[in-house]
Amino acid sequence: MAVGHKQPRAARAARGTPEPAARSRRRRHGRAGWAPVAFIGPFGVLFAAFFLLPIGYAIYESLLKVHVSGLGLGPNSTATAFAGLSNYAQVFSDSAFWSGVGRVLLFGVVQIPVMLVFATVLALLLDSATVRFRRFFRLAFFLPYGIPGVIAAILWSFLYLPSLSPVVAALHGAGLGTVNFLGVHAVLWSIANIVTWEYTGYNMLIIYAGLQAIPADLYDAGRLDGASEWKLATRIKLPLVASSLVLTAIFSIIGTLQLFSEPQVLRAITGSISSSFTPNLFSYTQAFVANNPDYAAAIAVVLAIGTFILSFGFLKLVQRRWAGT
């Protein structure tokens, strides 16, 4: 994880990143005795219990399978047995799983760039010298992030509901007919809108923080050279906040693959969202509705590994790109 090292040294120093020179002065192990154990211990125990153990257990569980004999009614009619990778084989050949994966990938390919471009434009506009009411705008854009995902989804579900929604009414009044936000094809993008609404301001703030950390002399130098605001933005600002953009992109990828609350909430008002709409929803339904925890565990493991590969792969890709230029 060394994206920062790919940046110009001057920019790093200017942003207050310490040079790793102080390292040599650190004391040797042994002086402090058991202190590090005492400091890390409480976190370590909980981390092991609530992170490592469940991961291990999910993998173990995913290798089991319940066999039902007869009608599955008697006390001894079900037996759990080691099943090797058969749950995984089933996951990989399950069209319901893949349609969910395809849906979140499509969602991510469209929603993440739209949101990040939106956030970057807002951050650049707020950072430019000529814009007024900055404080108000920053607060306005950031406000949705203060609303938890479930409540945001509930709120937007009202705005999508034809009987309640002033938006549907306004569009109708504008002569666009009755727009159905909850139809089979539209509902994915209605969810994308909820996610964009919630997280654009947050991402904007990350990028804005990066912009604000750029020393003003850099702009002055650019202006003296006759660079326009547009040139300043694309040639100086954007490259310097690239690491912030990578961070926001990775968080967005992780979030998108885990998509759950928004579709789960919207299911209350529309039949367009199936129980396998997203991989997470599928896993949840398998565990708690279909009573099939082994299979659900296999889905969760595949999803976690897929998430890891995608976010890590993205990071590596970006690093190589930067190293090449």
């Binding site: 400091f39 991961i55 002033p166 992780i254």
Partner: protein, 288 residues
């Protein structure tokens, strides 16, 4: 932040006016849904469906409020208190645990240090929803599901917090200060509490905020763990009402005003603590 803003003179140029106008349009997108929530909270059940959505009609705010707080023996109160416990107390514990671990990882040399840090960092990338299901299966073996602990304990583990604490401690706590404390005869724990925590306090606020939001936003964990409505956080409670209003139409009003009430303190806290977000996020992204 004014100090670091570009020092060019502010001209009311055409570009500036255009940009400001564009920002106003964007602000409307972000604010209008919240505005709808405020307006709708004041409406009676019939006006909710019949009046213009973005404007007031028939003030029913008081009856909505009393209805909300009385419904089902005032369970909404419990949800608020539960949320405060899970997210507030949980984030506090998470911050303490993570800051101690991050401090030790930054300031002590010991064998396996890098390995431990790598494992914890890997934890940042593990999605919470992937953990919730196996965690449920594990906790049900020890009969801990459907208890406060089943939501609270997993919530106080914050690998991202450890990461932030380590980065911040490494950058901001001078080794000489720790050494000086040792020469004065202070114990390692005392040095942590009196020196490290004080220097790290801006980072601690950021960590607290991050974890608070993470817990408050974590819908999957309580959904999986809890079946007793009296243990619900407010998000799960409102979600349940939202699913039930087909049977009980008055719940629509309660979901709306309940959503509003539950987010007001949070939104205020968020907006006023914005600078901690920025500083924390900047630190996190620079050193990624």
């Amino acid at each position: 932040m004014a100090a670091t803003a570009p020092a060019a003179p502010v001209r009311a140029s055409r570009g500036g006016i255009l940009a400001t106008a564009l920002l106003f349009v964007c602000a409307a997108y972000f604010l209008l849904p919240a505005w709808w929530l405020v307006v709708s909270s004041t409406k009676g059940p019939s006006a909710l469906y019949s009046s213009e959505g973005f404007w007031f009609s028939q003030l029913h705010l008081v009856s909505n409020l009393t209805g909300l707080f009385r419904y089902d023996d005032g369970i909404y109160w419990r949800w608020l208190v539960n949320t405060l416990l899970y997210a507030g107390l949980g984030a506090l514990c998470a911050t303490l645990l993570a800051s101690a671990a991050g401090y030790a990882l930054a300031k002590y040399e010991f064998r396996g240090r890098q390995l431990i840090f790598s494992v914890i960092l890997g934890g940042v990338l593990v999605p919470g929803t992937a953990l919730a299901l196996p965690l449920y299966l594990l906790l049900s073996k020890v009969s801990l599901t459907n208890t406060y602990w089943s939501v609270f304990l997993p919530s106080i583990v914050s690998p991202f917090g450890v990461y932030l604490a380590r980065v911040y401690a490494a950058a901001s706590i001078p080794d000489d200060l720790i050494e000086a404390g040792r020469i004065d005869g202070a114990s390692e724990g005392r040095i942590f509490w009196t020196v490290a925590v004080r220097i790290m306090s801006p980072a601690l606020v950021t960590m607290f905020l991050f974890q608070f939001v993470a817990i408050w936003n974590n819908f999957f964990l309580p959904l999986v763990m809890l079946s007793n409505t009296r243990l619900y956080p407010v998000t799960l409670g409102l979600y349940t009402w939202n699913n039930e209003y087909g049977q009980a139409p008055q719940l629509v009003s309660y979901v709306i005003i309940g959503s509003l009430i539950s987010v007001i303190p949070l939104v205020i806290a968020f907006l006023s603590l914005q600078r901690f977000w920025r500083s924390g996020l900047a630190a996190g992204s620079i050193t990624l």
